[in-house]
């Protein structure tokens, strides 16, 4: 996802070293450990789901950027794939949120 040039392309696959991938792996494990700890503490559900989805999005971004190599691809590929996917998921959530908020208010506390 950076400036172009022949020299860079030939080194395209040496950007990720064993050390880098191991660091990403350790981060993913740490974030998972935080998630499990939150479950162990039995946080309140609304707070819990907010934190869990946030952490999962960070983990997904790490996997896509480093393991799936997207960080080292051209920006064009990222722009082709990710915004369309995010848009489609938002369209699904449009069906979800109005009802969920309504149900939350209807339910006796």
């Amino acid at each position: 996802m950076s400036a172009h040039g022949h020299a860079e392309l030939t080194h395209e696959h040496s950007v990720g070293t064993t050390r880098l991938f191991s660091i990403v792996w350790v981060w993913l494990l740490l974030l998972t450990a935080v998630e499990v700890f939150l479950a162990y503490e039995r946080l309140e559900v609304h707070l819990m789901i907010t934190i869990l989805v946030g952490l999962s999005l960070i983990k997904a971004a790490l996997i896509m950027s480093y393991f799936m190599h997207l960080r080292f691809e051209r920006l064009g590929l990222f722009l082709l794939l990710v915004p369309a996917m995010v848009f489609c998921i938002c369209m699904m959530l449009i069906m979800f949120f109005p009802d969920s908020i309504r149900l939350m208010n209807l339910r006796p506390h």
Partner: protein, 210 residues
């Protein structure tokens, strides 16, 4: 198309035209499949969230021990398989066939371990009367969403194991190129990525509150 011509297309660096993304067609195809498959899983996860929300007595049956401990270990196994996969892809591009195959076999073993642990969990649940169409808590939708989501994911892992086995065999024989390994890696990492959403949404949010 010969290998030389193929390389030529991949390496064209002018913007637009034959190779606007500077990747081969296999890789672009896999990426497009991953985007569409991620929408399948999104739809399932969102419909799960929806039925869970509108069911007031939705069960939260999982104890920290053994259910959460087991699924946490499964997460560890899957994340580790992603690490061996990415190291395998790196070795493939360095031209080290032996090392690549070894890493791929490690990935396959992790994948099989994941499926086996998952299967024992399912068998335990069946034993407790939790099936896709009914359970002791009187909320059949729990089984429907739980087994639907984890089942589709398990199917992906199983297909992935077979896919990697074919790639490892072919790459060891010199039939396949490093690009084949990389594309199979994309698929495998995607399966890992999906679990990063299923694990918290299905397991961690269903921890027994008591």
């Amino acid at each position: 198309m010969s290998e030389a011509e193929f390389e030529g297309i991949v390496e064209s660096r002018w913007s637009g035209g034959a190779s606007p993304f500077a990747i081969n067609s296999k890789k672009l195809g896999m990426w497009l499949f991953i985007v569409s498959d991620s929408l399948t899983f999104s739809a399932l996860l969102i419909s799960y969230a929806y039925v869970r929300l509108e069911t007031p007595n939705w069960p939260r049956p999982f104890e920290i021990w053994p259910a959460i401990a087991k699924s946490s270990f499964m997460t560890f196994v899957l994340l580790s398989s992603s690490l061996t996969m990415v190291l395998g892809v790196n070795a493939a591009f360095k031209g080290d066939r032996k090392k690549t195959v070894r890493y791929l076999i490690a990935t396959i073993i992790f994948g099989i371990a994941f499926v086996l642990i998952h299967a024992t969990e399912w068998v335990t649940l069946f034993g407790e009367g939790v099936t896709p169409w009914g359970n002791p808590w009187g909320v059949p939708l729990f089984g429907g969403t739980f087994f639907g989501l984890t089942g589709l994911h398990m199917l992906h892992v199983t297909i992935g194991v077979a896919y990697l086995a074919i790639i490892a065999w072919g790459f060891g024989k010199g039939k396949y190129t490093a690009e084949h390994v990389e594309v199979s890696g994309l698929y495998w990492h995607f399966v890992d990525l999906v679990w990063m959403f299923i694990f918290p949404m299905v397991y961690l949010l269903s921890v027994n509150p008591k």
